[in-house]
């Protein structure tokens, strides 16, 4: 869930049409209108990516008069389905997967079970990836993959490139080679497994 308090505004005078903002927007809220970028305010989640990367400083973030929340309900789906998807992605449904918005795996899973087929759609619906914009792409890709979805990368965009390895996929020979250097691979897998298996009451 995210409280949306800001919206991006583009100064057409300053915009040079470089399309950087289009390439980094996590919800695909920016399109080119001729040689100028244009924000679809309904889709903007106020993350500031465009504002922080525009080489011409053409984007400002403005406070919304009426902030609003975006979230996906989880109570209209059978919880076993949500839980099943999270566990397949090796996540506990209650664990937080986006620190800025405190979004839990169960909400992203619900978005996917309700039809989201890309990280961009999950972001639009839940607000995930619109805080720091950096840290939560992997759990989203893991959940999509666990649901049998192969998302399509936005063409020419830098929104994301691909899923990367998890603790469970580290080759045994790599573990053996580096264990003694302080990388506690197996011990960490044990901890991550315990979190995944933990029930609602933390048991």
């Amino acid at each position: 869930m995210k409280l949306i308090t800001m919206v991006a505004r583009i100064d057409e005078e300053k915009c040079t049409g470089c399309q950087t903002c289009v390439k980094v927007c996590p919800t695909l809220a920016i399109k080119m209108n001729g040689r100028k970028a244009k924000v679809d305010v309904e889709k903007c989640r106020g993350c500031g990516n465009c504002n922080q990367r525009c080489p011409s400083y053409a984007v400002t973030m403005e406070k919304l008069d009426k902030p609003y929340k975006v979230f996906v309900r989880i109570d209209d789906l059978p919880y076993e389905k949500i839980e099943g998807l999270c566990k397949k992605a090796k996540l506990n449904p209650e664990q937080i997967i986006c620190y800025c918005t405190a979004t839990r795996a169960e909400e992203a899973a619900a978005a996917i079970l309700k039809g989201a087929v890309s990280p961009e759609e999950v972001s639009l619906l839940t607000g995930i990836r619109t805080g720091c914009k950096v840290e939560c792409i992997q759990p989203v890709l893991r959940l999509l993959e666990a649901n049998g979805v192969k998302p399509k990368r936005p063409e020419g965009g830098f929104q994301w490139y691909g899923r990367t390895p998890t603790a469970w996929e580290i080759p045994e020979e790599v573990k053996e080679k580096y264990n003694h250097r302080g990388f506690y691979f197996n011990e960490d897998i044990k901890l991550l497994d315990a979190v995944r298996e933990a029930g609602k009451e933390g048991k």
């Binding site: 209650e94 664990q95 839990r104 792409i137 691909g162 302080g182 011990e187 960490d188």
Partner: protein, 479 residues
């Protein structure tokens, strides 16, 4: 007689914090505040070259000496060289020492190799314009003849094949014939990297795309995470381009020197020893604090504000030994944060946030890093509506103020803190160099506890920490 306070770091103009005009009073100005010099706590604290009599030229001198020994023969005239830097270096001691190292590195490369095509690529944390601000304020854009770029993790990427699979770097970091890694040995977020391969970390962070950074924070585990950085550094792609590394060698009391090497792993071992020994002592000592008010008063996001060379986020975990790898999970990392369910911790291994911190007074700290965890776990009072507004406008901190209260002035905030926390012990995270600003009551406690901590680290903890990291404790004698 009690020592006078050490001058705190000045507020800085930045889009991530309030205008310095709002910082009208610093916590160190209260009469009950004093300071302790680290050398008085730990007699074996290494001598520093900065701050010192010679000023920043001491850093230049050390850099030139260290770089003289480095082989740069692989770089030919006309070759392109990317000098890779990270924003954290600029938060150390006002930033000038790191800026000077970056200038010296450029000069020596040009002099020794004959190439003029030297570019600065400076990575960021979660504040994508921060290094641009630093490069401008230290005039590095002029020094590097306009060849500077702040690189962010959402910028165009490049896949890198590693021992554990494909990871992604930032394309602009690697778009040269050679790369030079310019960093520092400050322990910084030891709660995350656990002083495992500290020297290699920017390859998984400052120089990496969102996918890689997310792998570190979400896909591996609290102790295995930094393998992401090592696997990128060890990749054929990076090894072919890597020329050498130059580090600002830090201790909690300042810059000890400059270390440079063609072999990053050898440098890493030295960084491991220095980090465990010097920072290990002050962190263990801070873990002895039984109760206190933590005052945040430094131009950086909440977790990164400094005291005695270590950051607030480390203090929130000082109730545990952050260097001990047998401890699975520190009281604060994003893994820890993730493992709090709706009704509390999901597993029994989630340790509580340092219960000694009775209250945090946020006199001056920036947004730009998800910090709601801190205000949710530690009663927090923010000074001034302007600071509250900075947090409210920050997409990473929408909820920070939900759990904090606002005081109109620092005086009101401190009064509230003393009354509510019921302690007169205060520790100030204001970036004081060489020591630490604290209340007299806390100074007394720290002085009493220091000798036993000194002995414990030297005799028991340090050998254990080094063994856990595969570093031969004999290296201490050699260094």
């Amino acid at each position: 007689m009690n020592r006078a306070v050490i001058t705190p770091q000045k507020p800085r103009v930045s889009q991530y914090g309030v205008d310095p005009k709002y910082i009208t009073k610093r916590v160190s100005e209260y009469p009950e505040m004093t300071s302790i010099v680290l050398k008085d706590l730990f007699p074996d604290t290494p001598e520093v070259i900065y701050p010192g009599e010679k000023g920043v030229p001491a850093v230049r001198e050390a850099a030139e000496k260290a770089l003289e020994k480095v082989d740069m023969s692989m770089i030919k005239p006309g070759d392109s060289v990317n000098v890779c830097a990270s924003h954290h270096g600029f938060t150390l001691l006002g930033g000038e020492p790191y800026a000077e190292l970056l200038r010296a590195v450029r000069d020596v490369i040009v002099r020794k190799t004959g190439t003029e095509n030297v570019r600065l690529r400076a990575g960021v944390g979660l504040r994508f314009r921060e290094t641009e601000e630093y490069m401008k304020s230290f005039k590095l854009d002029e020094y590097y003849k306009g060849k500077v770029k702040g690189v962010a993790p959402v910028d165009e990427g490049i896949p890198i094949e590693t021992e554990i699979g494909t990871l992604y770097g930032i394309k602009a970091v690697y778009d040269a014939d050679w790369i030079v890694h310019v960093h520092n040995s400050d322990v910084r977020e030891v709660h995350f990297h656990r002083q495992v391969d500290r020297a290699v970390k920017p390859f998984g962070m400052s120089y990496a795309r969102i996918e890689t950074r997310s792998t570190y924070h979400q896909n591996l585990g609290p102790r295995a995470a930094n393998f992401v950085a090592r696997s990128i550094f060890a990749s054929e792609f990076v090894q072919k381009k890597f020329a050498f590394a130059a580090f600002l060698d830090m201790s909690p009391s300042g810059v000890v020197g400059v270390d440079a090497d063609n072999d990053l792993y050898a440098l890493n071992d030295r960084v491991t020893v220095g980090g465990c020994k010097n920072y290990g002592k002050i962190m263990t000592l801070l873990g002895e604090i039984d109760e206190c008010i933590a005052a945040l008063d430094f131009p950086c996001p909440v977790p990164y504000v400094f005291a005695a060379g270590v950051i607030y986020a480390n203090f929130t975990g000082a109730n545990m030994d952050l260097f001990d790898l047998d401890v699975p999970l520190p009281p604060y990392t994003w893994y820890t944060e993730a493992f709090y369910g709706k009704n509390g911790p999901l597993v029994k291994d989630v340790p509580p946030v340092n219960p000694a911190i009775k209250m945090a007074v946020h006199n001056y700290a920036w947004g730009g890093y998800p910090s709601a965890f801190f205000s949710e776990h530690i009663p927090t009072v923010v000074v001034g509506r302007e600071q509250a507004e900075v947090m409210n406008r920050d997409p990473q901190n929408i909820e920070y103020m939900s759990c904090s209260v606002v005081a109109d002035s620092l005086d009101a905030a401190m009064k509230f803190a003393y009354h509510t926390a019921k302690t007169d012990k205060v520790i100030i995270f204001d970036g004081a160099a060489g020591g630490i600003n604290v209340s007299e009551s806390l100074a007394k406690l720290l002085k009493e506890k220091a000798p036993q901590v000194n002995k414990l680290v030297d005799e028991e903890l340090l050998p254990k920490w080094l063994r856990q990291r595969g570093v031969d404790p004999a290296i201490i004698q050699k260094s």
